[in-house]
C-alpha cells in the first residue's frame, strides 16, 4: 500500500516526539510537527503534553460491548485500552512501528516451554484496579475463564477455548470450584506469574494474550452481562456513567500509574462517547469542532469526503489511512465448474480491478488495487502479482480465455455471485465484475442477501452455496492480529470450514496450505514464520480461491483541537490511547 511521502521531515520529527506523546508520564514538551494531508499516517500531529479538556467521540453505531472480554469490534479494542490493560499490547506509535507487540501488564513477552506447549508471563507487581486493589494473575485467569461463557458473553473471540487444553470448561458462571477458578489449563503459581497450557504449539500466543480478553477482571466485581456497564479499570480512565445505546463517559483513573505504562497517556480530564449519532452529522460535528473524533474509525461519508478533499484547509486535517481491511471475492472451489483451478484463474485474469477499486470509492477513499491476500500492513506480507492485477488492472482477456480453454469451457460458463444487498459498494462491485466477466463469456447472476445473515444463513453455509451455485461471493476481512495467521487462517485453512458462519467460503482445503499453517504455528523464529505466511499467500493465490480487490483505506478527519494524533496501523484508525485536547 502506498503512503503519502509529502511530509517526510515532519514525520521524522514527530516520530522522534512520539515516545513522549505516547508515553504516559514521560510526556514532555514535544517538537511541533507540521499539519498536512496524511501527516497522521506517519507522524504524531499536534504533539503536546497539555493536560485538561474533554475529548468528544461520536459513533454512528453502538459497541457490541464495552466489556473488554466480550467485544470483537476493532474500534472497541482500541477504545478498551483507555480503561483496560492486557498482558501484551501493540506499541503506540505511527507507521509500522505500531505493529510491534510489547508487554503491557506483563514484564516481558511470554516464555515458551521446551515443548512449545506452555507460555509463562510475569506481570508487573504494582498495577492497581480503580478501587486500589492490586492486580494479580488470578484476575487475569478469571478474565480468560469468562471467554468460555459464551451464553453470557457471546461477542468476543474464542481463541482460548480453541488453543488451551480444556476446551470443555463451562466458564466461571457454571464453575463449581471454590473461587470459580477451575480452568486447569491456566496456572497461577503466584500473584505475578501465569502459565498457559496449550493443546499444541502455537507460536502466535503473544498475539492472543494481547486481545482485550486478558484485561484483568476482579471476580468479586464481575456482574456478567452487566459488567459492560462498568468494567473495572486498570487503564488511565475509568467509567463514570453509561447509558446503553446513548452515551458513556470516562474520567481520570487516579490509581493508574503512568510509570508502569508507556503506551497510554492521561491528558484529557474527561472522555465523552456519544452513540447512535447520524453518520453525516458526525462528519459535520468534526469539521465544526462539536466533536473531536469519529469512534467507528471507518472514515467520513461521501458528502464530507468530497468537501474535505476539495478544500485545502480541511484536507490538511485528513488522513487516508490503511484500514487493514481487504475487500475481495471468494471463488468457491467446490461449485462447478470453479472446482477446476483453471476456471478460477480465468476469473482472476478477467476481473476488472479498476472497477473494483472505483466501486469502493477510488484510490483515495477506497484503497489500492490488491494483488495478494495479505495486505501490506500485515507482518509477512510480500508483494507479488500472479494475475497482473496491478500491471493490467482492467483485466487480461487473452490470458483469461487461455485459462477457460484449459478448464474445458473455452466459451465461458455460468455461475452466481453473492453480495450483501444493503452494502452499496458490494452491489456496485458485483455489477462491475458481472460486466467484466461477461467479456470472456462468464455469465454471472447476482444474488443479494442481507448482511446480518450473510455468513450465518447464506454465503457462510456451504450447503446453501452449493445448492444456489454461488461460485463467487463478495467479502471483506481484517485480521485479529497483524500477522499471517491472524489474517489468513479463517479465510483459507481447511480446519476453518464450518457448516454455518463459515469464513473459508472458498472452501479451500489444500494440504499444502494446511501443512504450512501447522509448520508456522510451531515455528518460534519470527523471521522464519513470516516467510511461511508469504508462502501461504502465494499458494492461496495460486489456488485462486480469492480474487483480491482493494487494500482498503479510510479517509479520516483529524479534528484540529486534538493533540498527539496519529493513525495506529494495527487498528487502522487513530490511536485512542494517545490523544489529548488543546
Amino acid at each position: 500500500m502506498k503512503r503519502s511521502r509529502t511530509i517526510p521531515l515532519a514525520a521524522a520529527g514527530a516520530v522522534a516526539a512520539l515516545g513522549l506523546a505516547a508515553c504516559g508520564s514521560a510526556v514532555k514538551t514535544p517538537t511541533p510537527s507540521r499539519v498536512a494531508y496524511n501527516a497522521g499516517n506517519t507522524s504524531v500531529v499536534n504533539p503536546s503534553a497539555h493536560k485538561g479538556g474533554t475529548i468528544i467521540f461520536d459513533n454512528s453505531s453502538v459497541p457490541d460491548s464495552t466489556d473488554p472480554g466480550d467485544t470483537y469490534y476493532a474500534n472497541m479494542w482500541n477504545m478498551a485500552r483507555l480503561y483496560g490493560r492486557s498482558l501484551m499490547t501493540f506499541k503506540s506509535c505511527p507507521g509500522k512501528c505500531g505493529l510491534q507487540l510489547v508487554p503491557d501488564l506483563a514484564t516481558a513477552p511470554g516464555q515458551v516451554g521446551a515443548n512449545g506447549l506452555t507460555w509463562t508471563y510475569h506481570i508487573k507487581p504494582n498495577i492497581k484496579f480503580e478501587n486500589g486493589r492490586t492486580v494479580t494473575t488470578t484476575d487475569i485467569k478469571y478474565a480468560v475463564e469468562r471467554t468460555y461463557a459464551k451464553d453470557v458473553l457471546p461477542n468476543g473471540p474464542s481463541y482460548f477455548a480453541l488453543l488451551l487444553t480444556d476446551p470443555k470448561y463451562p466458564g466461571p458462571y457454571k464453575d463449581k470450584t471454590p473461587g470459580k477458578l477451575g480452568l486447569k489449563s491456566v496456572d497461577t503459581p503466584n500473584a505475578t506469574t501465569i502459565v498457559f497450557h496449550l493443546r499444541k504449539p502455537f507460536s502466535d500466543f503473544d498475539y492472543v494474550v494481547s486481545l482485550p480478553q486478558t484485561v484483568p477482571v476482579p471476580p468479586a466485581r464481575d456482574t456478567g452481562a452487566n459488567y459492560q456497564l462498568h468494567p473495572v479499570s486498570t487503564g488511565p480512565y475509568k467509567f463514570r456513567s453509561y447509558t446503553l445505546d446513548k452515551q458513556f463517559t470516562l474520567v481520570r483513573n487516579p490509581k493508574w500509574d503512568p510509570a508502569t505504562d508507556s503506551n497510554r497517556v492521561q491528558l484529557a480530564d474527561k472522555i465523552v462517547v456519544n452513540l447512535n449519532v447520524n453518520a453525516d452529522t458526525i462528519d459535520s460535528n468534526l469539521i465544526h469542532s462539536f466533536a473531536n473524533i469519529d469512534m467507528a474509525g471507518t472514515g467520513v461519508q461521501a458528502a464530507a469526503r468530497a468537501q474535505i478533499l476539495s478544500s485545502p484547509s480541511l484536507r490538511q486535517n485528513a488522513d487516508a489511512a490503511p484500514s487493514g481491511f481487504l475487500w475481495f471475492t471468494y471463488i468457491n472451489s467446490k461449485v462447478k465448474p470453479l472446482d477446476n483451478v483453471h476456471c478460477r484463474r480465468a476469473v482472476e485474469y478477467a476481473a476488472d480491478k479498476v472497477a473494483y477499486q472505483t466501486a469502493y470509492g477510488g484510490p483515495v477513499a477506497g484503497g489500492s488495487i490488491a494483488s495478494t491476500v495479505l495486505p501490506p500492513n500485515i507482518v509477512g506480507h510480500q508483494k507479488f502479482d500472479l494475475y497482473e492485477a496491478t500491471t493490467k488492472p482492467h483485466g487480461d482477456i487473452a490470458k483469461a480465455k487461455q485459462e477457460l480453454a484449459a478448464c474445458g469451457h473455452p466459451s465461458g460458463f455460468t455461475t452466481s455471485m453473492a453480495f450483501r444487498s444493503d452494502r452499496p459498494k458490494e452491489k456496485a462491485t458485483a455489477t462491475a465484475e458481472q460486466q467484466a466477466l461477461s467479456k470472456v463469456g462468464i455469465k454471472v447472476t447476482l444474488q443479494g442477501y442481507p448482511s446480518g445473515k450473510y455468513f450465518t444463513n447464506f454465503a457462510g453455509v456451504p450447503t446453501f452455496v452449493h445448492q444456489h451455485d454461488l461460485g463467487l461471493d463478495i467479502g471483506g476481512w481484517a485480521a485479529d492480529w497483524p500477522d499471517g495467521y491472524g489474517f489468513l487462517y479463517y479465510l483459507t485453512a481447511g480446519e476453518a470450514i464450518s457448516p454455518a458462519g463459515n469464513t473459508n467460503i472458498g472452501e479451500l482445503n489444500d494440504p499444502v496450505v494446511n501443512k504450512l499453517f501447522a509448520k508456522a504455528v510451531a515455528t518460534t523464529d519470527t523471521a522464519a514464520r513470516n516467510q511461511i505466511w508469504s508462502q501461504i499467500d502465494r499458494q492461496v493465490m495460486s489456488d485462486a480461491v480469492i480474487l483480491p480487490g482493494v487494500y482498503a483505506k479510510s479517509l479520516l478527519y483529524r479534528n484540529p483541537n486534538l493533540t498527539n494524533v496519529f493513525v495506529h496501523l494495527y487498528y487502522g484508525m487513530y490511536d485512542y490511547a494517545s490523544l489529548g485536547r488543546k
Binding site: S65, P154, N278, T281, A500
Partner: protein, 335 residues
C-alpha cells in the same frame, strides 16, 4: 361512554395479543419455514468465527431449540408475570411487563424502551402542536381566500412539504441552522426536567422539520374540508341569521371540517409515538424510532416485539381518544 371505553380497552388487549403473535411468527416461524434451523438462528447472536459449542450455548440460552409455542408462551408469561434471566453470576428478575432481554446487549427491553419514550413523546407532541395549529390555520385561511396569492403560495409550500422527505429537509435544516449559521448548535436531547430551555432549543429543528411535512398535509385537508363546509346551506343560514363571520367560520365551518382532521391526527400522533424513525435518525435523537432501527438491524426479536407492541398500543389508545373526541366535535355522535 364508560362502557364504550371499557369495551375498547378489552379489545385493545386482544389486539395486542394478536399483534404479538403475528410479530413473533414473522421473526421466528417464517425463517424456520424457509429452512433455517435453530443453530443458524443462534449463530447470528455470537461473535465472529464462533465455535460450535458457543453457538449451542446461545441456542440453549435463547431457547431456540424449543418448540415455537413454548417460546411464545414464555414470552407472554414474562409480560404478565415477569421472568428470571441468567446474567452470569446471578439470575436477575425482570418484573412485569417483561418483554424479555435484548439478544444484542442482554439488558431488559422494557426499561430501555421506557427511557426512550420521553424523547419520542417530546418530539411527537411538540411537532403535533406545531402542525395542528399551523396546518389548520393555513388551511382555513387558504379556504377563505381561495384563489388568492396567499392560497396559491401556501398550497405550493404545502406541496413541497408533502413531497420532500424528512431525511432531506432534516439534513438541510441541520446544515443551515446548526452548522453554517449555528443558531441551534450541537443538538443533543436534554430532558424537559433537566433544562426546559435547552429541551426546547434542541428540539426546535426536529419539531419544525417534522411539522413541515405534516402541516402541509393538514393544510390541504383543512382547506378542502373548509371549502366544502363553507358552501353548505347551514352556513348560508347562519350568515342570514346575522351571526358574526368569525362565529360562522369557527363555530360552524371549522368545527364540521375538523372531524376528518381529528381522525387523521389521532392516527398520526399514535404512529409517531411509536417512533418517528426518520426524524430521530436524522437528528440523532435516541427515541423509539432509533431504537426500532437498531432492533431491526440486529434482528433483536425481543426489542422488535417490544417496540411493535408499544407502537400498536399507542395507535389503539390514540384512536380511542379520537373516538371520544368525536362526541365533543360533533354533537350528533353519542356512545
Amino acid at each position: 361512554m364508560i362502557r364504550f371505553i371499557v369495551r375498547r380497552l378489552i379489545v385493545t388487549v386482544f389486539l395486542l395479543l394478536v399483534v404479538s403473535m403475528i410479530t413473533f411468527g414473522i421473526f421466528f416461524l417464517i425463517p424456520r419455514l424457509a429452512g433455517q434451523n435453530s443453530y443458524q438462528l443462534a449463530s447470528q447472536y455470537v461473535g465472529r468465527n464462533p465455535t460450535p459449542s458457543a453457538i449451542h450455548a446461545i441456542e440453549q440460552k435463547l431457547g431456540f431449540n424449543e418448540p415455537l409455542v413454548v417460546q411464545y408462551g414464555r414470552f407472554a408469561k414474562g409480560i404478565v408475570l415477569g421472568a428470571h434471566y441468567n446474567a452470569g453470576p446471578d439470575k436477575t428478575y425482570c418484573p412485569p411487563p417483561c418483554f424479555g432481554y435484548s439478544f444484542r446487549n442482554q439488558q431488559p427491553v422494557w426499561p430501555m424502551m421506557m427511557s426512550d419514550v420521553p424523547v419520542t413523546a417530546s418530539l411527537a407532541f411538540g411537532a403535533a402542536l406545531l402542525w395542528l395549529v399551523g396546518g389548520t390555520a393555513i388551511g382555513v385561511l387558504s379556504a377563505l381566500r381561495c384563489g388568492s396569492v396567499f392560497d396559491r403560495a401556501a398550497m405550493g409550500i404545502a406541496l413541497a412539504g408533502v413531497s420532500l422527505p424528512i431525511f432531506f429537509t432534516g439534513l438541510i435544516a441541520l446544515e443551515l441552522f446548526s452548522f453554517k449559521w449555528p443558531i441551534f448548535p450541537d443538538l443533543q436531547y436534554v430532558s424537559l426536567t433537566q433544562n426546559p430551555y435547552l429541551w426546547a432549543r434542541n428540539l426546535a429543528l426536529p419539531w419544525t422539520t417534522l411539522a413541515f411535512l405534516y402541516a402541509a398535509l393538514y393544510a390541504r385537508l383543512t382547506r378542502a374540508g373548509m371549502l366544502e363546509t363553507m358552501s353548505e346551506d347551514y352556513i348560508r343560514t347562519a350568515r342570514a341569521k346575522g351571526l358574526p363571520e368569525r362565529n360562522v367560520i369557527v363555530k360552524h365551518g371549522l368545527r364540521a371540517a375538523l372531524t376528518p382532521i381529528v381522525t387523521i391526527f389521532g392516527l398520526d400522533l399514535g404512529l409517531l409515538l411509536g417512533g418517528a424513525v426518520l426524524t430521530e435518525f436524522t437528528f440523532s435523537l435516541h427515541g423509539l424510532g432509533l431504537f426500532t432501527v437498531l432492533a431491526i438491524q440486529n434482528s433483536d426479536l425481543p426489542e422488535i416485539l417490544g417496540v411493535v407492541m408499544l407502537a400498536a398500543f399507542f395507535v389503539v389508545i390514540a384512536n380511542l381518544i379520537v373516538d371520544i373526541l368525536y362526541a365533543v366535535v360533533d354533537p350528533r355522535v353519542r356512545y
